[in-house]
Amino acid sequence: MANKPDNNAYWAANLRLVTICLVIWAACSYGLAILLRPLVSGIAVGGTDLGFWFAQQGSILVFLVLIFFYAWRMNKLDKEHGVDEE
């Protein structure tokens, strides 16, 4: 394990990225769509409120963006830390 310090920095960066993504993941699905729905009930969307839209459309769209963002960011991190596949 010659380049161990670098691997540690890479892993820490990965954990930070995963944490950020999962906070957004939870905030949209468990938050806006379910538990925090009453807080955003004033925002009208097509005959109902923002929480209902997040529950039936918005969360899925956010999940999509998160996975592609994570893949793009990680593939860049791989190269920066020299751990990408040759």
Partner: protein, 598 residues
């Protein structure tokens, strides 16, 4: 040409396509049989994963579940897609880097323990076998309704089709058949939805139409579709479509489905087929793109079908007269009620003898008074099986015959593609993890390939038998599959990657604890081994521990697994250095190519 002939032609053409692919993509080695030679393009794998994942439950049942409950069942939409975020970030890339063929293989190697490997095989088989029963019965129902054969004939035909391409092609054959099945099922699902959305709202994209206004010529023209639907429902004593209660239970159930999804072995192994770690990350995103096409459409299908059904039963609005029995029997627009009545999945009864069918919620607030005033004697739509909603949807909306034939092919494709993925997970666990790793490590490559094919054939026979003689608890068993995946495999896999300190004893006892406690909780309310009448407590909210229903138990089982694993591993020795090095190497993508086919 009559409808049944048309259905036969479309379904037959789809089968011919699957067979053609099977012959073209025969597996010649164990690497091809287990992991399609790791040569699958990430977008193609995403499409195959979507078909692998979207089962008869997604295609046939989900929109019906949403239609009759509304907002509260959004849990299925978020739960069955949100799990991919967990899989993409916590499992898939690292397991691909590990570079082996099966989920128990990772557990056994990472925890340097054949005990852990065997416990993982048991969990995998319980999860996958219970799951596959639902697919076989789903295919049987679709066959019997659309091709007018008995459901036994339908089920055996479905098994024979899977047998041909799964035994011949292994993962390679299954991958490319799943791509074809995805295309069939997504076309079948979206075309009727687009038609119906156009009819009701004038918007061709169902997910937008759901939040749009009613089109000209529709009742309630100009006001939002959801307002019209809420109005109709509350007038008839049903609860509002867009409201729900007990948010914490919704959140818990969503979490259970998400963790369960991420821990399902037949989905995880799909990510072993791509060439690189970076591809596994992209592939998870593509899988969700293809899944989202159906999942963003499903809530619209549910709401619009519910609206169409309400309008059919109350053609003059809630204030006017209900539909007459004579109309149902003579008007072609009501033909679907007659065909589905014949299957026993739809039923009505003119209780008050007024020659009309009143559909309302007799338990709703103020409905007893309204019924007395208008001379109703209770709800007369006595039976509406939720599973028929998607299958009957094109008929309810009066769409052309070829659309109905497509739905038949789509439902069968959804069931077959998932069944094949599950059967592969089962057979590779037997031939690779039990036979090759534990019983006979010296088996030749050719011998293992043969063992894999024989296990596959055996798994299909077992699945067919269970499909023909479904243990009367198919619905509960699906809850068991998700609960167990959440409580056993997901925590064990995650700790294997994210904790270098986790050792064999911790992981094994964690899995056993998750498995046993989850099973006990389910058996307490649903009966020992689901045998009716043997439950110790009645399955009602008053009896639940902290109010948690057995279907929502997955996250609690996962917590128990994590907790037990942590305590046991901190009391026992750390894993040996070469295992800690293995964890280090799994965490970085470099060198994934070298790990291939070891």
């Amino acid at each position: 040409m009559d409808q049944t002939t048309l259905n036969f032609l479309v379904v037959g053409a789809s089968f011919a396509l699957y067979f053609g692919i099977a012959i073209w993509a025969r597996a010649g080695s164990t690497s091809e049989f287990y992991a399609a030679g790791r040569g699958v393009n990430p977008v193609v794998n995403g499409m195959a994963t979507a078909a692998d994942w979207m089962s008869a439950a997604s295609f046939i049942s989900m929109a019906g579940l949403i239609a009759f409950v509304g907002y509260s069942n959004s849990t299925f939409l978020m739960g069955w897609t949100g799990g991919y975020v967990l899989m993409a970030m916590l499992l898939a890339p690292y397991l691909r880097k590990f570079g082996k063929y099966t989920v128990p293989e990772f557990v056994g190697d990472r925890y340097y323990s054949n005990a852990a490997r065997v416990v993982a095989v048991i969990c995998l088989i319980v999860i996958s076998v219970t799951y596959v029963i639902g697919q076989m019965t789903g295919a049987g129902v679709a066959f019997s309704r659309f091709l007018e054969v008995s459901s036994t004939t339908g089920l055996i035909t479905a098994s024979a089709v899977v047998f041909v391409y799964a035994v011949l092609g292994g993962m390679k054959g299954i991958t490319y058949t799943q791509v074809a099945q995805y295309i069939v099922l997504i076309i079948a699902y979206t075309i009727p939805a687009v038609f119906i959305s156009l009819q009701l709202t004038g918007n061709p994209i169902p997910g937008l139409g759901l939040f749009g206004n009613m089109a000209e010529g529709q009742s309630g023209a100009g006001e939002p579709l959801l307002v019209t639907l809420n109005g109709l429902l509350t007038d008839l004593g049903f609860s509002e479509y867009t409201s729900g209660n007990t948010p914490w239970l919704m959140a818990l159930f969503t979490l259970s489905l998400m963790i369960g999804t991420a821990g399902l072995p037949h989905v995880i192994i799909r990510f072993f087929t791509v060439p690189k770690v970076a591809d596994a990350r992209w592939s998870a995103g593509w899988a969700l793109v293809f899944i989202a096409l159906l999942y963003l459409t499903a809530p619209a299908v549910g709401a619009m079908a519910r609206l169409n059904i309400m309008n059919q039963f109350w053609p003059q609005g809630v204030e006017g007269e209900a539909v007459s029995v004579e109309t149902i029997q003579t008007d072609p627009a009501y033909n679907w009620m007659l065909t589905w009545q014949a299957t026993g999945l739809l039923g009505w009864e003119d209780k008050n003898g007024d020659g009309r069918i009143q559909y309302y919620n007799e338990g709703g607030a103020g409905m007893a008074e309204l019924a007395a005033e208008r001379g109703w004697s209770g709800n007369e739509l006595t039976n509406f099986n939720r599973d028929i909603l998607v299958l009957a949807n094109p008929e309810i909306a009066n769409l052309p015959g070829w659309v109905i034939a497509l739905i038949a092919a789509g439902g069968i494709a959804a069931a077959l593609s998932t069944a094949a993925g599950l059967l592969l997970a089962i057979s590779s666990a037997i031939s690779h993890d039990l036979i090759k790793s534990v019983i006979n490590p010296n088996i030749s490559e050719k011998g293992e390939l043969l063992a894999a094919r024989v296990s596959m054939a055996g798994a299909i026979v077992l699945a067919t038998y269970l499909g023909l003689n479904p243990p009367g608890f198919a619905a509960q068993v699906v809850a068991l599959a998700f609960g167990l995946a959440a409580a056993t495999l997901f925590p064990t896999l995650m700790m294997g990657i994210f904790s270098k300190r986790m050792n064999a004893a911790g992981a094994t006892w964690g899995m056993v604890a998750g498995l046993v406690v989850t099973c006990l909780y389910l058996f307490t309310y649903l009966g020992w081994f689901f045998i009716p009448g043997t439950n110790m407590l009645e399955n009602t909210a008053a009896n639940y521990l902290f109010g948690i229903p057995p279907t929502h138990f997955g996250p609690i089982g996962a917590l128990i697994n994590f907790g037990v694993a942590y305590v046991v591993s901190s009391m026992t020795a750390a894993p040996p250095q070469h295992i800690q090095d293995l964890v280090e190497s799994v965490r970085i993508p470099r060198g994934a190519g070298a790990a291939i086919n070891k």
